[in-house]
Symmetry: C2
Subunit: 360 residues, 2 copies
């Protein structure tokens, strides 16, 4: 429960009537968790306001924080606001010690998983999703890790259990990519794709185009809230490589590991060359590629000059873009413009509707 | 049964195995019709080769041709090729006199409708689809007319009958637009869109940009097979206006008639201004727009200069593009690149799978 979680709760609240009337969905949050608040379960339901208050209290949370004492994350029943009381509250909710106990205690039908990416082994997200599916709950994730490290296992497990494992927001936020292929492109064979999938490098390159050295451009991106404190995973192409892997695994059935993706970041680009390329109308972008070659899929992430008139050249700022080459549709490009946290939340709610909605 | 029909049959043939194994679909063509061949029904099934041979024979067909004599469109049973015999063949198939008799005689489960657009009243396509739905068959159309003139009626009729009325290929060929909203964007509210939806004007404007006067640019587009013999509906913005109306009606629930769309074609554009706009990097395009304004939807089609960095500026040749503005996704652009008749056929087959496929 962090920024995305809050946005999911607000969206579910805002669309409560449509969810009920159009998809037959009535929802109740029966558990909420974060490093700071721990594993809080209450099968009779937590009010949206309580969850938001809890999340606001925990919002100083940093990665690596210890699991807090119960009192720290306490909530009250009903609609009262624990923020307002000014004193630590007694927790009326059963506290559980790990994800499996928590899912059982919450009697969850659906898990929404939004931990950050761990690009080494995808944990703990893989274990969260496995636990949910094994307990007979649908699993929805905004995390690329489980897709890259355990897609096949989790897909099969979901199928065995008759549940869904969905992850629309893992790439390009809520923009339909996985559901586009799953729901609207039956029979289509994806031959390859090309895209710009990392917004930090896009913003950093824009800074270099107006004359900033790399370090200054990164600093500006950090001030804009686009780059993280340690931007290495973006600058070195890791984030983009994980996204390429996720798309290739799910959409092309490729067996590809992140280390197998040819990867070159933007650190070694000459700032003068970046300026000149932009002036010539063929700017540098960190381009992601995958294509079928023989029996396998070759994938790469590297800075490339994008030619004039290429749809990728028009992608600026925090926008993303992917161009698909299919057998019966020669070219299909999807562009996402300037998404915020609401777009990520939207993708998770769309997955939620796919998992539990019905035509009314 | 014309170019698109042939491509549909070829695609259904090419994907026969996947249709059966992945979607549980086994198909049989039990009727085929065109102005020239008339209404041919054979419930025990026509071979794909027979249909293609019939269509090839009728391919000299022009609009306005009379319904032919039976012998003209004759087919033989089995796999023999009527083309090869060199003499008119006896028709073993029951001939029927109109669409209703034909659908009944063919015992159709699905109608695929691909007559050309009639922008005055949408006929005879509206009647074809009505007849199919009333007879308890799914109706799939590549024609914008029924969407613009009778969407509400046909949608309700389909619902009453528990059948589908689908028309993915009516706008941007097989590119998922209607299914994108229907299947992958639940709850999303479409606030407006902007797009380039007419490829003829796009190609004509490109000709003018390199110095051709309008008439020469049109001639070149005709030589490329992009513009029709009478290109008025394209040049005057009618084709684009019908597409805007179809999108606004289906995706925004708008009650909009074609005549209510502000419409200005490209005939009055000054060729020098077109050249200068391109040189400045802000080319003229025939831009389609719709947006919610108060309780209604305002729509327009007119030449506009597209700013630098706008995804619409990168749309060239026969490509199309539409940019959607949604409540929870700030911007989503879909670009279709250089489609052929296979793309239209693909959209119809995708609709077919949506109508009758099941998860295997």
């Amino acid at each position: 429960m962090g920024n995305v979680g809050r946005a999911v709760v607000r969206l579910l609240q805002a669309k409560e009537k449509e969810l009920r009337e159009r998809y037959g969905i009535e929802w109740r949050a029966t558990g909420v968790a974060s490093r700071r608040m721990g594993w809080i379960a209450r099968p009779e339901g937590l009010e949206a306001e309580e969850i938001l208050a809890l999340a606001n209290r925990a919002s100083g949370e940093k990665q690596g924080g210890a699991v807090p004492k119960v009192r720290d994350a306490a909530v009250q029943g009903g609609r009262s606001n624990p923020e307002a009381s000014g004193v630590p509250l007694q927790a009326p909710t059963p506290q559980t010690k790990d994800v499996r106990e928590w899912i059982a205690a919450a009697r969850a039908d659906v898990l929404m998983e939004m931990t950050p990416l761990n690009r080494v082994d995808g944990q703990p997200a893989v274990e969260h999703i496995r636990a949910a599916l094994e307990a007979g709950a649908h699993a929805i994730s905004a995390n690329k890790g489980p897709v890259v490290f355990a897609h096949e296992e989790l897909r099969k497990l979901a199928q065995e259990k008759g549940k869904k494992f969905l992850f629309e927001s893992a790439v390009m936020d809520g923009t339909p990519i996985f559901s586009l292929f799953r729901e609207t492109l039956p029979l289509a064979e994806l031959r390859g794709f090309r895209g710009i999938l990392n917004s930090t490098t896009n913003v950093v390159l824009a800074g270099m185009e107006v004359g900033l050295p790399l370090e200054e451009a990164v600093k500006r991106a950090q001030e804009l809230g686009v780059a993280e404190t340690d931007p290495s995973d973006d600058l070195d192409g890791w984030d983009a490589a994980v996204k390429v892997a996720a798309l290739a695994i799910v959409l092309m059935g490729a067996k590809v590991r992140i280390e197998e993706i040819e990867r070159e970041g933007i650190r070694r680009l000459d700032p003068a060359a970046v300026r000149e390329a932009r002036a010539a109308g063929t700017p540098y972008k960190l381009v992601c590629r995958a294509e079928r070659a023989g029996g396998r899929v070759r994938a790469s992430v590297r800075p490339e000059r994008v030619p004039l008139g290429d749809p990728l050249a028009a992608v600026n700022g925090t926008s993303s873009c992917v161009h698909f080459h299919l057998d019966f549709l020669p070219g299909l490009t999807i562009v996402e413009h300037a998404p915020g946290v609401e777009a990520t939340a939207y993708g998770m709610v769309a997955d939620f509707i796919h998992a539990v909605g019905k035509e009314v």
